[in-house]
Symmetry: C2
Subunit: 346 residues, 2 copies
DNA sequence: TTCGGTGGTGGCAACGTTCCCATACAAGGG
DNA sequence: CCCTTGTATGGGAACGTTGCCACCACCGAA
């Protein structure tokens, strides 16, 4: 039978002091004689005392727990996010509970409730439901991540700068001699889709193209979905020697698969540009050229911000409510350089 | 300012009963009049009562928290494991804390300590350090997963049946007309490596081949490592029209990359067989043929077992201390069918 | 000498829950 | 009518920690 875990009272007894003194030593508070400090420390080590965070949390109102709700932990991009958050939380001696909402608002709501019940000190959430207003448990600090974050007024958020990132992609395609790309976007209901699309549209307009001519297919952010979307694009025959810009890397990988299946050579016949920067994109053939979002950094910043809000209480002026981190072009092999081809021919 | 979360006392007050009665209703205990039950339920909903699991945990000794320690959350295989564990835990109304040890025993130890401090009711651990004996916090139920699990006497474990899975792979290669594969294995110190290798050796012996002739390279289970290992294999020039069996999918994908870089066609010139069944293997070109381990199921079973042990206390005869789940061949496109080629030539 | 300040310490209440025990009342058997 | 049995409820302790308050001794200043 496992002996009950030693408590601070056991430590105090072993050190021959009161539990208040022991508590003060263990909490690192001042006004303690060196002898007492030493003896308590020794006693704690000797009997293998381990602070009961549950009890401490109950008294202090802090659980030492943080929550992270993301759409899909099995997507490498989100796995990176989880990693970043995990590391940052551990650095602050906080534990992180990660939950996958599976792009399902109901699941998301359940997870958030579970977090609330666990009395997390705060949560980083990537909202799946664009319209949910009562995300945070009353009074629980929340920091949002992801592109839908900005739809929530008053809740701070960290995300990639979508405008910048999409523009990066469009400019890159142009620099390689491509015209308007066909698009594989996320589900119609999501805000992220609209924002992505609008940047592309603006880009089209700036280059005197009709945004209405854009070939657009929707998918659900999965490889399977991206593959089906690419097949639909191919069936439309609007993709000539063109290129495809997918709204995430999983769908871009799916597009690569579809092209391969259809016997269309990428990048020679069709170029594919991804959007995420999943490390896994380096494994495809051809290796996926993509706009990398700083996943770990986004998560780390979000957790930092969250900790900040927890420590400073809810009542504080939040100047930098929105943090935008720039994306980065990762040029690999899935986008052909038509300008070079043209030059070579000349 | 957020109003303090309502307690069970608030509920009792609102319902006009004592907190004992309210507690009994909320806990679903018998011996409660219908009127009292109804009023308490209504009051709880009305004031938005949410049980404080911290306080409950302190009193009952159950935190409602489970831990999961895996080597690398950004590896899709482990992400699947996390998903399976997460889902199973949620089904039991338990929360899961996932931690990545990064293949580092020190990090692993830190995570385990963090779990112990959080007073998790139990933990599922994939031990990175083969020799660590004091994994579990004194008396905390633990279930091990992964191939090193069996090194720990007395601790139950769930894992894939390595012997079966590797044999599956070897038999498949033989059936496709391949001879002994070159191997890309994990780091030399790991038990998993030895076990994998020994099955291959046995297979060689059974087919009158000298296991000493096996070309073996080691890597660290990453794509990058697998790629470097494949380059080393190519440099050795021992890989003719042969095949490579990698000990996980990430390294297999790395091998695919290396082959592509070296201008070696897979599967025509060299076949590659993976080992994991990461969904991401479907995205490579050629798509990775692999031995799939039932990641989600392993995790789910491990969590089930853990819950079982928690509920029944530590004092119980554990008949099925070791659970082995069979692997499954996922045939895609990275292994050439030489027998067919031979047949065609004839 | 007395008084206020201060460093070191112990006592005690509180956090929100669960669980055990005590109480109250009704029904039923002797 | 009393005593037992059972059901419905209330009271209060306990879980392990934190944080406030009080206490004691000591020191320097008035």
């Amino acid at each position: 039978m496992a002996a009950k875990a030693p408590t601070i009272i056991d430590v105090a007894k072993a050190a021959g002091v009161s539990k208040s003194t022991a508590a003060r030593v263990l909490a690192g508070l001042p006004n303690i004689s060196d002898t007492a400090r030493e003896r308590v420390r020794a006693a704690a080590v000797a009997i293998g005392y381990e602070r009961n965070t549950l009890a401490a949390g109950m008294r202090s109102g802090r659980s030492g727990l943080l929550g992270l709700v993301i759409p899909d932990i099995s997507n490498p991009f989100w796995a990176e996010v989880a990693r970043g958050a995990q590391d940052r939380a551990a650095a602050a001696d906080l534990s992180l509970m990660v939950m996958s909402s599976d792009w399902d608002p109901a699941t998301e709501a359940r997870h958030i409730q579970a977090l609330r019940r666990a009395r997390v000190d705060g949560a980083v959430i990537n909202p799946v439901s664009d319209q949910v207003g009562d995300l945070p448990g009353a009074g629980t600090p929340v920091v949002l991540i992801g592109s839908a974050a900005e739809a929530f007024a008053g809740i701070p958020s960290v995300g990639s700068d979508i405008h910048h990132a999409v523009t990066l992609g469009m400019d890159f395609l142009v620099s390689k001699g491509h015209d308007m790309p066909s698009l594989i976007l996320g589900p119609p209901s999501r805000l992220a889709r609209t924002r992505f699309l609008n940047v592309v549209r603006r880009h089209c307009i700036a280059r005197d193209r009709d945004p209405g001519d854009l070939a657009i297919e929707s998918a659900d952010y999965t490889v399977r979905g991206g593959r089906a979307a690419m097949h639909r694009l191919l069936a439309r025959r609007t993709v000539g020697h063109g290129c495809v810009f997918a709204a995430n890397d999983m769908m871009a990988l799916g597009a690569l698969m579809a092209l391969h299946e259809a016997g269309v050579n990428c990048p020679r016949d069709v170029s594919v540009l991804g959007f995420d920067g999943s490390p896994i994109g380096a494994c495809s053939a051809p290796q996926l050229t993509t706009i990398a979002k700083p996943a770990r950094e986004i998560a780390a910043r979000a957790v930092s911000m969250l900790i900040d809000r927890i420590d400073r209480g809810t009542a504080c002026a939040i100047e930098e409510l929105r943090v935008h981190l720039p994306g980065r072009l990762v040029e690999r092999a899935s986008v052909a350089d038509l300008s070079a081809a043209v030059r070579r021919r000349a």
